[in-house]
Every structure is written in C-alpha cells, then in structure tokens.
C-alpha cells in the first residue's frame, strides 16, 4: 500500500518533470548536457585495453620471419614510435609512396615479418589480422598523445597527395549526392546532436584528425582512422574504399595538413 503510494508519487513527480523539461528544453541545454556526458565518460577510456595489447604485439615475434615490429620505421627512424603518428601521413623513400599509419604498418609487417599485406587488406575490421592491427595502432597513436599535428607537404608526392585529398573531400557521388563536404565544410553544424567539425578549416580539421583513432561507445570498438573513413564512405552511400587505398591516404593527408598545429588527442573517446 505504502509502496504503491510512494511509487505513484514518484511517477507523478517524474511526469511533472517530464512535461516541464520537454517544453522548456532548449537545444542549447541539450548540447550542454551532451558535453557533460562526454566529460563523465572521458576518464576511463577503454582504448587503454587495446593499447596494452598492442604494445605486446609490437614486441612479439610474428609472421614467416618470426620477427617483431620493434625496428619498424614510421618516419622518425627504425624503432622510433614516440611522436611518429603525429607526423603521418608522409612520404617514404623505401616504398616511394605517401603512407598513413596503417599502410606503413603493413609495409613494416611485410619487410620485417614477411606478412602479406593482402591478407590484412582483405580481413574484416575487428577480426583476424585487423584485430592485431587495431591494437598496434592504439599503441602507436598513444605515444603521440599531446604532440602537435605536424604533417609536411614539402615532398612533391606529399603535395600531390594533399591536392588529390582536397579534391576527394568535395567529390559527390552515390544516391544521396554526398561528399565529405556535405557535412564537414561549415562551422557550427550538427547531425542530430553530434557536432560536425569543419574540416576545411584548421580548427575543425585538428578536432577531426586529432581525436581519431578512438574508442567508440556506440559500437564498443576501437576504430582506426581507416575504419573511421570506411564508415564515413558507407554512410555517404559510396562503394567500399579499399583498406589503405590512395583515396583514404589522400583524405588523411588533406585532413592532417589542414589540422597542422592542433594537438593529437589520440586515442579519443567518441560516441
């Protein structure tokens, strides 16, 4: 009897609160509340779990050559991981290519461990060899956390990649006419309650580039930049961008270069 009363009272109170909030609720407060939510989950980023696994994989002999990745050259010399991700993508003389973190890691796996890149390219995200890649990426990017984004376009191939990336950013296609620019070329825009960084400007590009790779709470997965871009294209209703393909590296180059000077906050924690 008493319980019913208390519960009834509680329900009435909640109902009253509900009507109040729904009529008063301004968008401003909704976005403020989202900010509070993000703040509350910021401490305790599950990316740490992947990062620990990645460090182990980095130091563990693997592949036909039974070698570790410890001599991998990510651009700052063999074995230098600290700060390397903050300067990627970049041109590598040994492959004569501009590479992002993941395409470069595939090169290291091939050169050092004898692992065939195609196996990595064909694997689905979050499974098999990609699962290892994701952990390794978490480890590598954590060692650039707090650094400044510092990507060069001095080499002609880097400049060319940047130009291609800029063009790809505005390239419309698919049954919804979307390009990256449809959502990411203006300040102050949102999809639903999610802020959309304006990637054509330094501040927005730094926000976009600087917080990925990240742990996504909606999927409970750690996503590399390749997976992030892959899902962007999926939502754009495009065909499937091949893992490590030039369009993904070109877009990365465009974003990273535009965001130069911003802070690397990886691994991030995202919706």
């Amino acid at each position: 009897m008493q319980r019913k009363l208390t519960l009834g009272l509680a329900t009435a109170l909640v109902a009253a609160l509900l009507t109040m909030t729904s009529s008063v609720f301004a968008q401003k407060s909704a976005t403020d509340d989202i900010a509070k939510y993000r703040e509350m989950i910021a401490d305790g980023n599950p990316s740490e779990l992947y990062e620990a696994a990645g460090e182990e994989l980095w130091k563990k002999p693997a592949g036909p050559k039974n070698a570790t990745l410890e001599k991998c050259d990510l651009g700052l010399g063999p074995g230098v991981v600290k700060g390397a991700a903050a300067q990627l993508p970049r041109y590598f003389a040994d492959t004569d290519k501009v590479q992002d973190l993941e395409s470069r890691l595939m090169t290291c796996m091939l050169f050092l461990q004898g692992r065939i890149p195609q196996e990595m390219i064909d694997a689905p995200f979050q499974r098999g060899p990609k699962k290892d890649m994701e952990a390794i990426v978490a480890y590598v990017v954590t060692l650039s956390k707090g650094d400044k984004i510092k990507v060069s376009t001095n080499h002609p191939k880097e400049k060319e990649m940047y130009d291609l990336g800029k063009r790809a950013f505005f390239f419309q296609g698919g049954p919804m006419d979307f390009s990256c620019a449809s959502c990411h070329a203006e300040d102050g825009k949102r999809i639903r309650l999610q802020d959309l960084p304006n990637i054509t400007a330094q501040k927005g590009a730094a926000l976009g580039w600087g917080y990925w790779p990240a742990y996504r709470v909606s999927s409970g997965q750690f996503w590399t930049m390749q997976q992030r871009l892959n899902d962007c294209y999926r939502q754009q209703r495009f065909p499937f961008p091949i893992y490590g393909s030039d369009v993904t590296i070109a877009l990365s180059m465009y974003m990273a270069k535009t965001g130069n000077g911003g802070t690397v906050e990886t691994p991030g924690l995202k919706r």
């Binding site: 909640v14 999926r234 919706r271």
Partner: protein, 150 residues
C-alpha cells in the same frame, strides 16, 4: 590413533576455515543474485532485494548525465552520506531492471561509479542499504538517437 584422528579432524576443520576465509570472493562469486538480476520490474527487484518500498532520500545522490549521447554507455554513480553496506543501480525500462549491485565493506567510501546500457529514455534508481534500511534517489536519463542512423 584416536588422538591422532581427532587432531587430524581438528586440523582439517581449521584448514577448511582458513580456506573459506581465503576464498571469500569465490564464495561470493557463487552468490550472484540470480533472482534479483532476472527480476523484470522495479517492484520485482525491490521485493527480491528485500528493499520493500525505499524512501527517497536527500542523502543519496545519483550522479548521471541528463542526456546520454549513446545508450550503450551511460555513466552512473552513487554517492551517499549514509553508512551504506549495499548499493544498487536499477533502470526502470530495461528488460531486467537491476543493472548492478555493490557491497561496501567498512573502510570503503560510500561511492561508486560504473557504466550501464539503457535501451531507451528511462528513470534510473540508485538504491542504498544502510543500517538495514533502504533509501533511494531517482533521475530520468534521456537516451538520444545520434549520428547518421545508418
């Protein structure tokens, strides 16, 4: 012989006692409150926990956001000035209301934070048992649809 047997029995009794003392967590692991976690409604869980109809108390705070950007991860915390020995988090509109419960030994602060899943916007309850009496705090957390939705 008899003497020996008696001392052996005594020994094993002590050993058993020691083992059970050492394996307290294992014992508790087996005590997972199946009935409470399988209870569907708030009332079901209140009944199984022996909470009756807990009173709202200003001494219990449910620390949670007003809006969750995603229902898969909703941060919730309980903090209380009461001498809590047990605490629980319940979500009214989840398929099973009880999300988690905690046991607070003496010397541990009456504070806990974790993250829960919510299928939809719902009232969330923080229950605290202190001196054998249950109190609670309630808060509505809105779960929003986010992203492109594809």
């Amino acid at each position: 012989m008899n003497q020996q047997r008696r001392s052996l029995m005594k020994y094993s009794a002590i050993f058993g006692l020691m083992a059970s003392a050492g394996l307290i967590s294992v014992a508790q692991a087996q005590e997972w409150n199946k009935a409470a976690f399988e209870g569907k409604s708030l009332d079901d869980v209140f009944k199984i926990l022996g909470a009756g109809s807990p009173d709202k108390s200003g001494a219990v705070t449910l620390n949670a956001p007003d809006i969750a950007e995603n229902g898969a991860v909703v941060p919730v915390g309980i903090i209380t000035t009461l001498k809590a020995e047990q605490m629980a988090i319940l979500v009214e509109k989840n398929p099973s209301a009880l999300a988690a419960q905690f046991f607070i030994p003496a010397g541990t602060e009456t504070f806990v934070t974790t993250r829960i899943k919510m299928g939809q916007t719902s009232n969330v309850y923080a229950l605290v048992k202190a001196d054998g009496k249950w109190s609670m705090a309630v808060k509505e957390i809105k779960v929003t649809l986010g992203g492109c939705g594809g």
